[in-house]
Symmetry: none
């Protein structure tokens, strides 16, 4: 069986290689204008070889999107512990966003891909899609926190947790995907993160139960020393 295992490992490595090349190109030049030939050239493979690992361009893209989503979700789950209040969980979730955004480009790739592959999601066809998108995890995680917050009497009981989850995700998606459009040198991580934080905070204030102290919701700010970090992915 050793030989089969090695085969599978090598196959996985090749897949990862291809996906990483595609990711680099997505960051550089966007999803729309990305062709299979571009990816093949970057990976120093032939176009035909790409099709040995991915049955189509669409599915390659989908896998990239999911892989990035998994990275975030695992990052989040690794830090999640039991016994947290809704507010604490939300703050943790938020901190994970900031971590990922400051330290790697996976979040950007995820949102760019998502907007390309399922632009309407999650505002529509939540149930209709047959594609196994990890996006669902992002969505339910937020939703669960809101539900918990309502149960804990922190959030206005009139809020619709599903809608809040959709809206927050959409906002994050828009802000982050757009920030990816600025050239790397000019992209100001700190600015984006602050923008996101403010929006998030406004949304939370908007759903807090009447009478509670708003300062409960103050979110962690990006530590000063992250300002100059623009992402971990190395460029050749």
């Amino acid at each position: 069986m050793g030989i089969n295992e090695r085969r599978e490992r090598e196959r996985a490595e090749r897949k990862t290689l291809i996906m990483n090349c595609a990711k680099d190109l997505i960051l550089d030049r966007g999803v729309e204008s990305l062709s299979m030939m571009d990816i093949a050239q970057k990976a120093e493979l032939s176009k035909a070889t790409l099709y040995l690992y991915f049955p189509s361009k669409e599915l390659l893209f989908l896998e990239i999107c999911n892989a990035s989503a998994v990275q975030f979700i695992e990052h989040f789950r690794a830090r999640l512990c039991t016994g947290l209040t809704a507010i604490e969980t939300i703050k943790l979730y938020w901190q994970c966003y900031l971590d990922m955004f400051g330290e790697s480009d996976e979040i950007m790739i995820f949102f760019k891909m998502w907007q390309y592959l399922a632009p309407g999601y999650p505002f529509l066809s939540l149930e209709g899609t047959e594609r196994p998108l990890m996006i669902f995890e992002f969505y339910t995680a937020i939703q669960d926190m809101i539900v918990q917050g309502v149960a804990e009497d922190t959030f206005d009981p009139a809020v619709d947790p599903a809608m809040i989850a959709r809206t927050l995700l959409s906002l994050f998606s828009t802000v982050i995907a757009n920030s990816a459009k600025t050239p790397k040198t000019a992209r100001n991580v700190r600015f984006i993160v602050n923008e996101l934080t403010k929006i998030f905070q406004i949304m939370l204030r908007g759903i807090i139960r009447d009478g509670l102290d708003r300062s409960l919701l103050d979110l962690p700010a990006l530590p000063e020393e992250h300002t100059h970090k623009t992402g971990a992915r190395k460029k050749e």
Copy 2:
């Protein structure tokens, strides 16, 4: 002179025909995959004929976008009167959205086009674009209202009006453009409008000055009799 007038009228009608065909296709299948040949076929014209009315695909698209923007802005301006408080103006602005959204597809087309033509706007390159996009009007209108609200001591003085305007516009854009992706038959105008209303209300609650009564911000709901109306554009 009668003949020249008729000619001009017919020409304008033909332009409108082409733009309407393009709009229908945009609503059906999105902007990205829309080709000049598709439009020509829909309009039952030759591709070359399109070029008699629009010098390029880009300018055809821009004209569609602007025409839709103008429709909204005129609708809004016609209802705008002096002496309104910020909150009243915001409610009016909002009502105009609802009117347009319930009665025609122009808002949808506008937001789809916008996302295609200036995808990062207004989150980036506010000043950088040299294209005379009506989008700017949408943006400044919201911003002005927030500024007025801060001045009137209705909104939290800590808010950044430009950021709020960006965020609101982005939310409207995302929700509406995405709602356009659902098949016509299934699209539930009432659902979308309620969604938008709730989001807007949450955002406003999030920026209201501490201590003010939130019910000040209650927005007009879509009247019951609009529920079954799904848009004025006829489909062949």
Copy 3:
């Protein structure tokens, strides 16, 4: 009959107008890239109207070519008088070239058109062409002079007059048509004329009968005062 005459006169005027517009455009931008729409716009007529006066683009061009040829030939014939030796006639012919080249753009238009319409002529298909090109007149005129020169014992009896005529015409054509490719401001009439004169003189020296004094063949040089004149056609 007066009304018919006026009609015909007006028709001729319109034809001339169209041809002049085409000529201007040929001088400016060359023959290859010249479209019927360009001509129509310049003439402030519709494309369809052009077809009332010329059955096709090709025949319009042909007529322009012939008209320019006629201008030169008439210029030459008006100055031709009986009793001239071959050398004298050649010098006269030459002087007419210089006149036309210095004073109007007809020669340029003619050669440009010629190269476009019948690029191989007269090196080939002298007899094969069914198109009534005035080019033939240019050719036979030179040929006749060479024949006369041989008869008068000025030129080497071994020369083939037809071939000399073909070659000279080809040289003039190449030099002049190419000179038209330089931008108007830079075009140095004097340079071109001197170039042509030297080439012509070399050809004549090459065919003079052995033993005759070469200085017989010295050609008139362009008078100094023509240097700054670059053509009579006015530009709007």
Copy 4:
């Protein structure tokens, strides 16, 4: 390594196939009206395949032109030896033209391509062209010979070598390119060659130093047995 070599050989063969198809079409119907689709059809390939071998139409044409130029220049250089007088070198150069013209169509293709790619050259923009055209070699070779002839006191010191080179090249170009326009069956190689020879001889006589014996310049004639050969390229 054998497989790579074979691949490269096959690729070169396919390139040659495409170029040869293009050449045939150029000979048949000229450069101006030649489209990529024509070439693809002739080569029994798809249009897209052509782009696997040549990045653009322009570069395909340029390569054809240069390849033909290289053929001539190599033919000439292979025969060039040191210690020749200017007259001898000129005669050799000439003989090489005749060889090529009698035995293959490369000269024709070269001149046709040249007129298409750099129509004014060398009469204008000698220095302005940034395209690495082999044409330059043709030109300087002739110029050098004239300079040498003047130095050796064979040619009239008043001649301008650059101008003579321009003129001769233009003549060759015109005659040969034009001769390519006659239908293959009718094209009389002998006639063209004799024509060229006479013209060349006349030009040389026109610039020989006064007093020298003209018979010095007698050029080699095409051997009788070449008369019926009309070119080596086979037609399907």
